[in-house]
Symmetry: C2
Subunit: 256 residues, 2 copies
């Protein structure tokens, strides 16, 4: 593993609080692996032997039942995944596949569990990460049960805008059919949802989405800090570890 990669891992919330010894133990058995695009890393139901740290590329987590498939999350660097399964030494509930060429650091699960026993601060950091993930899922469920498809799309666009702290144009980082599944709709319906948003200040141009009237879009989307993590809360400071669904690093600002 290159020193620069080590630095990146060291910088994660998960290890930031840990004792140097803990960090050494955990990363000693770790190995960096590269995967091509469209590679399944793990099927749901598989035993989870490693904690995965995505350093480069994009990974999709999805679930299956009765010949249906749904995208649960898209991960971008730097994110860890499968932490809950590792902590419990349990099977994976979701499959993971690369959407593009990826660099992934794989840390043996028992190293993580051992480190937690030895270092309360590290165990605390794991708890914070899991708690943040937990709250992200609560937000996701509220999003799905309380809003319509168009409303979910509108809020997704606002979240993207906030994450990229961009101007009036955001870029979709993956295919629309994947976004559709993530938002819980069909590709056809996503297309129509975009069309519906034209009346609310949104125009689409391939992967680029122009938000020409933010006020109008927000009026439709009604973002809420208790669902949308990006939404402003009344003058409050955003708690760092409560950042996102899959990793506290997911949503950090100034990425690239």
């Amino acid at each position: 593993m290159r020193p620069t990669d080590l630095d990146r891992v060291r910088g994660l919330h998960l290890f930031g609080q840990a004792a140097p010894e803990t960090f050494r133990v955990a990363t000693a058995g770790a190995h960096l692996q590269r995967f091509p695009a469209n590679t399944t890393l793990l099927f749901e139901g598989d035993t989870v032997d490693f904690l995965y740290m995505l350093l480069e590329g994009q990974v999709e987590l999805h679930g299956t039942w009765n010949d249906h498939e749904t995208v649960m999350a898209i991960l971008r660097p730097v994110s860890s995944f499968l932490l809950a399964a590792v902590v419990l030494d349990a099977d994976a509930l979701m499959s993971a596949r690369t959407l593009e060429r990826c660099e992934i650091l794989m840390i043996p699960g028992d190293a993580i569990r051992t480190a937690m026993q030895l270092d309360a601060r590290f165990a605390m950091a794991v708890s914070r990460d899991l708690a943040g993930g937990y709250r992200g899922l609560v937000r996701t469920i509220k999003n799905h049960k309380l809003r319509s498809g168009v409303e979910r799309l509108a809020n997704h666009l606002l979240a993207l805008r906030s994450a990229d702290n961009a101007g009036s144009t955001v870029r979709l980082h993956y295919e629309k059919r994947i976004l559709a599944s993530l938002l819980g709709m069909t590709p056809e319906n996503l297309s129509r949802a975009f069309a519906a948003l034209q009346a609310h200040g949104v125009t689409v141009e391939g992967a680029l989405v122009h938000i020409t009237n933010i006020a109008a879009l927000e009026a439709l989307a009604k973002p809420d800090p208790l669902i949308d993590n990006h939404a402003p809360r009344g003058g409050d400071i955003l708690i760092d570890a409560d950042a996102e669904i899959w990793s506290s690093e997911w949503n950090r600002k100034a990425r690239r």
Copy 2:
């Protein structure tokens, strides 16, 4: 607090592994409180100062957006709730209200956080609890995105049957309109869903549901160990801490 209550708390997964000193510290500042039925304990957005341990009664967690409301979970003893918010010292994402008269042990949040710093085994137990909760929410999302209303109801009935390790009759422990919201449908639709299940060996009699043909119901429900925690996995032993959505105690057998 009565000694018997202390014993019940001591028996929880959360404290089972903790050092006696940790247990003492955490429960020293705790107080037992009784609430009447239909009392809101906490609104979403409120600051969370306590970890709540439900010792008696039923509590509903629900979320709101734009004048809509949805039930996120129903808790029964012995369950903890708001652990994720406590770990992060964050606002509640869900409101909590009693459905009936409740006894709740309230443990100061900072006592929990302090105990985690001091006792790695306790921090580990918190992680396991959160990881179990996390996985429960993943199951919930798969359930909602991949199944229809009737399928969700069918699986819910099978889960009830499994939890009560009962015979062919299960009892609904709360009102149908609450169950409807929990399953993501309207009361009218739940009624029709029950009617639809008549063709698959289910008859309803108030709060009692008779499953006259389990094979037929399972053929419709297609329970899956990666969604339904009760579903049998191939000869495997069920991992204890991965027990349920809101608490590892939720689903334990031989309750009453």
